[in-house]
């Protein structure tokens, strides 16, 4: 018996209360505030857009050089430069009024109070579909140790933010931890609707001629295809221990990369570094996933999620 051929596979997925037309999201920090990409693609075709991370107050960022190319990747130390909530609300948010694509806001704080305050602020803003909490930043109240590094602290922080917003809450996880699965579990227990992973790997490079670091901040984050196999392993580990949707990212350059993440359990994927080199990557990944489903006679992408079981 032959399977009926498929013309228009269903690419839609659900993350919390957000119904995405397709599982391709553009990652925070690599997509500016959306408008930087309008010359290159129709933003309405993306699953969701996550603009640059927002803090309560403006942040000036790190001294240059902020970027350095490595084998199959880049090191960056932008330092979360952003205009702060108020300026974002007044000057960046209006651009999204004419864009149908879901807008997910990435935000972060230096203290638990700041996270809560921001979550409350965004809760009142119309046009936002969800929030993505960056928990990779240093916790000022705990000697600068990252929020993400201890399950208990993650639970407490996520729980507090959960109570401050009705929006879909995604927790973005750092790979710079001993056991990412237990952190993901804490985020789930704290009330997260989804987890996204991974953020960049802490890394550095030295110039042997000047004998100095290539980055002004000495240490930065590594992203790009160089990290993809590790990211994939982490997404797989997390997918096995949480029931909430997992959003996978880390070095996705093409549709096949995205499909790998989906096969190990990601309900959606984020495109990061690739946007910088090929601004149309997001669109090409969507087209590639669609083609793959047609070729493999799969009607709904949901059938693909976590298909690989050990």
């Amino acid at each position: 018996m032959t399977v009926k051929s498929i013309r228009n596979p269903d690419l839609s997925v659900k993350i919390g209360n957000i119904k995405l037309e397709n599982p391709v999201i553009v990652a925070s920090g690599t997509f500016g505030f959306g408008e930087e990409y309008e010359d290159f693609l129709n933003l309405n075709h993306l699953g969701a857009i996550i603009p640059k991370g927002i803090s309560l107050k403006p942040m000036v960022g790190n001294p240059p050089p902020r970027i350095f190319e490595t084998e199959g990747g880049i090191l960056n130390s932008i330092g979360l430069q952003n205009p702060g909530f108020e300026d974002f609300f007044n000057h960046k948010l209006p651009y999204f009024e004419n864009i149908k694509t879901h807008l997910i806001i990435n935000f972060f704080g230096n203290t638990q109070k700041e996270y809560i305050k921001l979550a409350r602020c965004f809760n009142e803003v119309p046009g936002i579909s969800g929030l993505e909490m960056n928990i990779s930043c240093p916790n000022v109240e705990r000697g600068g140790m990252a929020f993400c590094s201890e399950p208990k602290i993650v639970y407490r922080l996520v729980h507090a933010v959960r109570k401050s917003t009705k929006l879909t809450l995604i927790v973005k996880l750092s790979p710079n931890v001993t056991d990412i699965a237990s952190i993901a579990k804490s985020a789930e227990e704290g009330g997260a609707d989804a987890v996204s992973l991974i953020n960049t790997f802490k890394a550095m490079a030295i110039n042997v001629h000047s004998k100095k670091p290539e980055l002004g901040n000495v240490i930065g984050g590594l992203s790009g295809p160089a990290i993809k196999p590790i990211a994939l392993r982490m997404v797989w580990e997390v997918s096995q221990v949480v029931k909430i949707p997992v959003i996978g990212m880390g070095g996705i350059m093409k549709a096949e990369d995205a499909i790998e993440f989906i096969l190990v359990g990601a309900s959606a994927v984020q495109i990061g570094t690739a946007n910088l080199i090929n601004p149309r990557t997001g669109i090409e990944v969507i087209q590639g996933i669609r083609r793959y489903l047609v070729q493999n006679k799969i009607q709904r992408i949901q059938k693909l999620i976590g298909l690989f079981k050990n």
Binding site: F40, K52, P58, G61, I74, N76, Q81, G224, I277
Partner: protein
């Protein structure tokens, strides 16, 4: 509007020592690019080198240029210095190359009508980005100061001479023209430049050179624009990787690719 578009390599030849000229057929970009703007060139289809490379344009000919043969051509003069430019020397005639451009904010031309002294100062390959500006100038008295380490690093001299300008050359080893840096040369000629009350200075070169220039030039005496170089992630303003420190107290770090690459000399927080 910036485009992400394929061009075709027409020619790629060495002009002297480590310097090459790449000619690309890409009418949409060649027609719209303005002096001081740049393009991001994809070097490899693989991930090595991973990022695109920014290049200012040496010459561009619009799709309606009077010489039919030149129409739609974009010329890049580059120096073979690293992995990216090494790969570029291997580009073959007929090969497709992907371009994003035109990008960034270019030079502002002096207000017209003008009988001003217009002084261009270029160090090394930096002189290249000043050529389209010189070619676009309609009026004024043009002085061009070209500097390099040796005579092999002196670029575009003939091009500028054809523009009816006064060309000065400086080499650090004295192998051609004035012996010293292009800034030493500038200082030695300052009197000539200052003879005219209206004067505009444009400069491009290594960061150290521009830093020295900022120390040398009295801002009141010259209106000065500089074109900066920086390592870039995207080239179109998304990643904030290419920033330079400015005197803006609110947003000190601004993007070379978006707010620049051309800045007013006095707006940069020089060391």
């Amino acid at each position: 509007m910036a485009l992400e578009i394929d061009g075709i390599v027409l020619r790629n030849r060495r002009i002297k020592s480590l310097y090459y000229v790449l000619e690309i057929y890409c009418p949409p970009v060649a027609t719209t690019i303005q002096p001081g703007q740049f393009i991001m060139l994809k070097i490899s289809g693989s991930y090595d080198p991973f990022l695109r490379r920014p290049f200012s344009v040496y010459k561009s000919y619009s799709a309606s240029h009077r010489e039919k043969k030149k129409r739609g051509r974009l010329l890049i003069l580059y120096k073979k210095v690293g992995k990216g430019t090494q790969r570029m020397t291997e580009f073959m005639k007929g090969q497709q190359v992907n371009i994003i451009g035109p990008l960034g904010k270019g030079f502002s031309l002096p207000p017209l009508p003008s009988s001003a002294n217009i002084i261009l100062v270029g160090g090394g390959v930096g002189i290249v980005s000043l050529y389209p500006l010189a070619a676009a100038l309609k009026l004024g008295k043009l002085f061009v100061l070209i500097g390099g380490r040796t005579m092999d690093d002196i670029l575009c001299e003939e091009d500028f001479r054809k523009l009816n300008s006064t060309v000065f050359v400086a080499t650090e080893d004295g192998s051609l023209g004035f012996k010293g840096t292009v800034l030493d040369l500038f200082l030695s000629q300052q009197k000539t430049f200052k003879a005219n009350p209206s004067r505009y200075l444009y400069a491009c070169g290594p960061a150290e050179m521009l830093n020295e220039l900022a120390k040398t030039v009295k801002f009141k005496e010259f209106t000065c624009q500089v074109s900066l170089e920086a390592r870039m992630g995207c080239g179109f303003g998304a990643c904030w990787g290419c920033v330079v420190k400015t005197i803006d107290p609110k947003v000190p770090y601004q993007r070379v690719c978006k707010e620049g690459p051309v800045f007013n000399l006095m707006d940069i927080a020089w060391e």
